[in-house]
């Protein structure tokens, strides 16, 4: 008897097929679950590590009146409810109001923890708090999605999580690795814009033009330069759009040049420099919206220079490759000014990004 007519051999073939038809999804769920469980354990570790680092930092460096642990745990659980967008009219103002209210609240309450805290330390603690609460939120969401899929024994429910997990883990790992740089007050990859403009500002008089944002005026080949960046070396991105509004109200600008870090695409070289048009500024979008509005209303062309980097490079200690590009970017800024403006015109140069460890 040959193998194909042997009933035992037929059973060996047919039983697994039947098992896979009826229990295939469940088997896949178990295999995927094991992978996700490992990631959740890692996320749980990141969450605890960032919380402990924050508590340690506060206990060692700030003179707190009471035990800060309870308050910190409450901060970490804070959530933000974004405004309803069924009617998008006026949504940007609402988002700005919500986001800034949260920032102001956190700032005020960190200050209450230690009333003598300096602005530099305050910004640092706020950043560490933001990292810890983001990691806590990521852990909670991933865990919720996993447990729901498991409870319902629903394989398709776990698929989106499985697909997104590598990206989520990349972000979470980057955030965890960002903590030492922010604690030590070192510049991060995102600080390349402020680093370029900060050096251009060095010998000029600085004035505060918006919250945590400084402006310096200088000249270059008979052109008036307005140099703008967040106020370093604190860990802040400032409010460049508010500053632009103030500058435009008293001056006529002929061009805006924005320097920022941009996420590189896969295959692109890290620290490569690219030029383009439009407002180069990340974040939730409120600053970009405001800058675009002002530029359009005043007919000001917006040019941008970006330094490409990965998520991790953007929020961890600046790499040598990125730091080495500062001089290249600076010379490109001057070239851009020469090519796009005439003598006696005015140009605003904005160094966009977190200015941690980058003074002016």
């Amino acid at each position: 008897m040959s193998d194909d007519t042997n009933p035992i051999m037929m059973l060996i073939w047919i039983i697994p097929i039947i098992i896979f038809v009826f229990y295939g999804q469940r088997i896949q769920l178990y295999i995927t679950s094991a992978e996700i469980k490992k990631a959740i354990k890692k996320l749980d570790g990141f969450k605890d590590e960032s919380r402990n680092e924050l508590i340690d930092y506060i206990k060692k460096n700030l003179k707190t009146k009471d035990d800060p642990i309870k308050k910190i745990d409450r901060f970490l659980d804070y959530f933000t409810i974004m405004p309803v967008d069924m009617d998008p009219n006026g949504i940007v103002d609402k988002v700005r109001h919500t986001v800034r209210s949260r920032e102001d609240y956190t700032r005020k309450h960190v200050k209450l923890l230690s009333p003598e805290i300096s602005d530099f330390e305050l910004a640092k603690v706020q950043t560490l708090l933001e990292i810890a609460s983001s990691l806590q939120m990521i852990y909670k969401i991933v865990n919720h999605m996993y447990l729901t899929a498991k409870k319902q024994n629903n394989y398709p429910l776990i698929l989106p999580l499985q697909m997104l997990l590598p990206f989520i883990m990349e972000h979470a790992e980057a955030m965890k690795e960002a903590i030492p740089a922010f604690k030590a007050g070192q510049p991060v990859g995102d600080g390349i814009g402020p680093m370029v403009v900060g050096k251009m500002m060095l010998d000029s008089q600085k004035e505060t033009v918006a919250f945590q944002t400084v402006l310096a005026k200088t000249e270059f080949e008979n052109r008036k330069l307005f140099l703008l960046k967040a106020e370093g070396p604190s860990s802040t991105v400032g409010r460049p759009a508010d500053a632009l509004e103030t500058i435009v109200s008293g001056n006529k600008l002929d061009a805006i040049i924005m320097i920022d870090a941009a996420l590189k695409m896969e295959g692109e070289d890290s620290a490569s420099v690219a030029q383009g048009f439009g407002a180069a500024i990340g974040g939730i979008g409120i600053d970009r919206f405001q800058i675009e509005e002002i530029a359009t209303a005043n007919n000001i062309p917006v040019f941008s220079i970006v330094v490409k980097q990965s998520v991790k490079e953007a929020i961890t200690l600046m790499t040598k490759e990125i730091a080495d590009q500062a001089d290249v970017v600076r010379s490109q800024v001057y070239e851009m000014i020469q090519e796009n403006t005439k003598q006696d015109q005015s140009v605003l140069i904005i160094g966009v990004g977190n200015t941690a460890g980058v003074p002016q």
Binding site: T316, M318, K320, P359
Partner: protein
């Protein structure tokens, strides 16, 4: 682990002499801030300022 891929990042500061332009790379120390005056130049009597702060992974 022997085969661990974990990289160790060390922070460095690059000092540049304002007078002779000599560059010197050294390990980052607490309190180092970009563009701030750092130390006396080793080849002339000028002052150095911190030109760059960056990390290198090994």
């Amino acid at each position: 682990m022997i085969f661990s891929k974990k990289k160790i990042t060390t922070a460095y500061a690059v000092e540049k002499c304002k007078k002779c332009g000599m560059l010197r790379k050294r390990k980052f120390t607490e309190g180092d801030i970009l563009f701030s005056e750092s130390s006396k130049c080793t080849s002339c009597d000028g002052m150095t300022s911190i030109e760059k702060i960056f990390g290198e992974s090994i």
